[in-house]
Amino acid sequence: MPVHRALAPICAALLAGAQPLPAAADPLPPDTTYRPLPVMPPSRARAIDEAQKPAVMARQRELLDSRYDLADRPLPGAMMSGGTKPVQEGVRVRLPDGQDWDSLAAMTPAEIRDGDLLPQGFLPLPHVKQATGGQVFPQNQIDRIAAQEQRDLRRFDVDLDLPDHLTPEFPPPIFLTTQPHLGDVSRGELLTIRNYYEIMNGLVTPVQMEGLRLLLTPFPQEEFNQTEDRKVADPSLGVACLDCHSNFHSNAAFHQTPDVRPQASRFRLDTTSLRGMFNQQIHGSKRSLRSIEDFTEFEQRTAYFNGDHVSATRKGVHLPDRANQVAMMAQMQNIIDFPPAPKLDPFGRLDPTLATEQELAGEAVFMGKGRCAECHNPQTAFMDNQMHDLKLERFYKPGQVHNDMATLPDGPIKTFTLRGIKDSPPYLHDGRLMTLADTVEFFNLVLGTGLSGDEKEALTAYLLTL
């Protein structure tokens, strides 16, 4: 009896606690998380895609032109590390009417937000076709792969939206940590599955060579595969890791983050360089995967950057063996060096006997008033292996839709290295900034550092030395 009496309140509490449960909610629709299966016959879907393409490209061009000055204005005397393409100069983000950079910097974030005064080029940049998303390659990569491998990377629904002069040099040079005395070993060629052995034999180990072969081997991907759910004309063998990371760098191919749903909220991803992989402790803009092995394996399992193992499985997923394949791919990636930076000492600091006054002034800004080095620490290859939230949404009203992308807070994003940064336009994880001068204005506003015109110019000059 006493036992029953003691249990009664517990039962009552359980019942009370259970009361809200019968009202269990319906989940959100499945396609808010999962990729829907296409239902339109592929020939008709393709015809509509092709008919839409001019409007898609014009809409994106209109957005880009409203946000940026996309003109071809090389910075005199500044070339990328392979010496084949000039660095672009000047701030390209357009200012709102009636403002200049100093007047904006003098306002509070709330004033900028409430006045709709944030330069639109500082907002997240939409994918050229947000609803479909997927990988989009530059024409130079498409042409080179078609010529060497007879493999088609051209999508029938979209093209790359950025002009060539605002993307990295192609093909980019390759520097190996194991062969520093050789310099660029690319011979001016793009590494492909056809030529890699000829170019790299004698420079790498058998393990690295096998890793390289796998990194150049195409596997089915979300838009490049044999099913009706593809955006390439013929059934495709797929894409290779180095189709975006050309010569282990970047060719400005872009995609969407795998880590966010629904589709409208997925932010754009500008291909990141693999240079200096040996020093990076976290991988992926948002995932913070703890090894390059994890990253390499998971991307194969999820159809390259879609975070969707379900769809990947349907299209023919590659499940690389961790010990025999993943490790070799990782070992190859881990010998890719940064380009030479002759003015930096072993600690990543400028050698005052080699640097100009302006560059030294820029380094002082970088280390002090500009607060850059608080995350981009020179001693650890200009990063901190952390993710940080810049809280840009202090400056704009979240939820506005631009070209079908919901403009929402980015949340924490990994700190990227700044070594060799002049080689890697466009900038930020989504490529929303076209030049280094743009990044200086962006961070001056977002961090509220109040830099003068001279300090900004010095900082830009310093970034070119990295």
Partner: protein
């Protein structure tokens, strides 16, 4: 606080929205086309049909729950929020109903079981218990609505419904920000949070070593902006 948010919504409505362009693979196979690239008006796929149903049921429930809150809420701030819910969602419901009629989509006539249950539960509460339960329910509801509207923007094919979703998204996100802000105060999570937007310099990210605050930096609660503060770092979606 609320007229500003509405105004922001209307500004968006006035802006010429660029055309929605979806993935043709996800168009319904019987879609009639206006031209080679564009579905005819009111052509819809399964996602649109579902959006109509869920948004209509949710919108009706928002108004009904807000009316209950106007009757019960102990906090003035919450009553202000409920007034905004009645006003904004009545407007959105009308626009959705007009679109549905034009597209010949039957809409639900009452709230769904989930919202019915919430209404019943709230009806049994009073005072601060009611206030907290209502605002917590509002946070969940608006989280779901934000995701639903986002999904319609890229998943649907009915251009008018997609445009409506795009226009409503910042407004509903504003509601969610307000609800989270009110909840933080009612629940005593961050009683010190000022209704003024966060002013620079932002001390949260890193310790301030450079000490160069921009002019006009000090937060002034007396000049509090009507808009809620920028979203704090807490996760807002599961």
């Amino acid at each position: 606080m609320f007229p500003r948010m509405i105004a922001a919504g209307w500004v968006l409505l006035a802006a010429p929205a660029l055309a929605q362009i979806g993935n043709p693979g996800n168009l319904a196979p019987d879609t009639a086309m206006q031209d080679a690239a564009t579905p005819a008006p009111h052509q819809r796929n399964a996602h649109d049909t579902l959006s109509y149903q869920l948004l209509a049921a949710g919108g009706m429930a928002e108004v009904a729950l807000a009316q209950l809150a106007l009757d019960r809420a102990g906090s003035d701030e919450l009553r202000g929020f409920a007034e905004m819910m009645v006003r904004d969602h009545s407007d959105a419901n009308q626009r959705l109903a007009a679109l549905a009629e034009a597209a010949n989509v039957p809409l639900p006539e009452g709230p769904d079981p989930e919202h019915q249950a919430m209404q019943e539960r709230l009806a049994g509460l009073e005072g601060s218990d009611f206030d907290l339960a209502y605002i917590r329910g509002q946070i969940t509801d608006h989280q779901k609505t934000v995701q639903l509207l986002s999904a319609e923007v890229t998943g649907g094919q009915d251009a008018e419904l997609q445009r409506l979703a795009a226009e409503l998204l910042p407004v509903v996100q504003g509601h969610l920000d307000s609800a989270r802000d009110i909840h933080a105060r009612l629940a005593g999570i961050s009683p010190a949070v000022s209704p003024a937007p966060v002013a620079r310099p932002d001390p949260a990210a890193t310790p301030d070593t450079a000490a160069s605050p921009a002019p006009g930096a000090s937060p002034d609660p007396a000049a509090a902006s009507p808009a809620p503060p920028a979203a704090p770092a807490a996760p807002e979606t599961p």
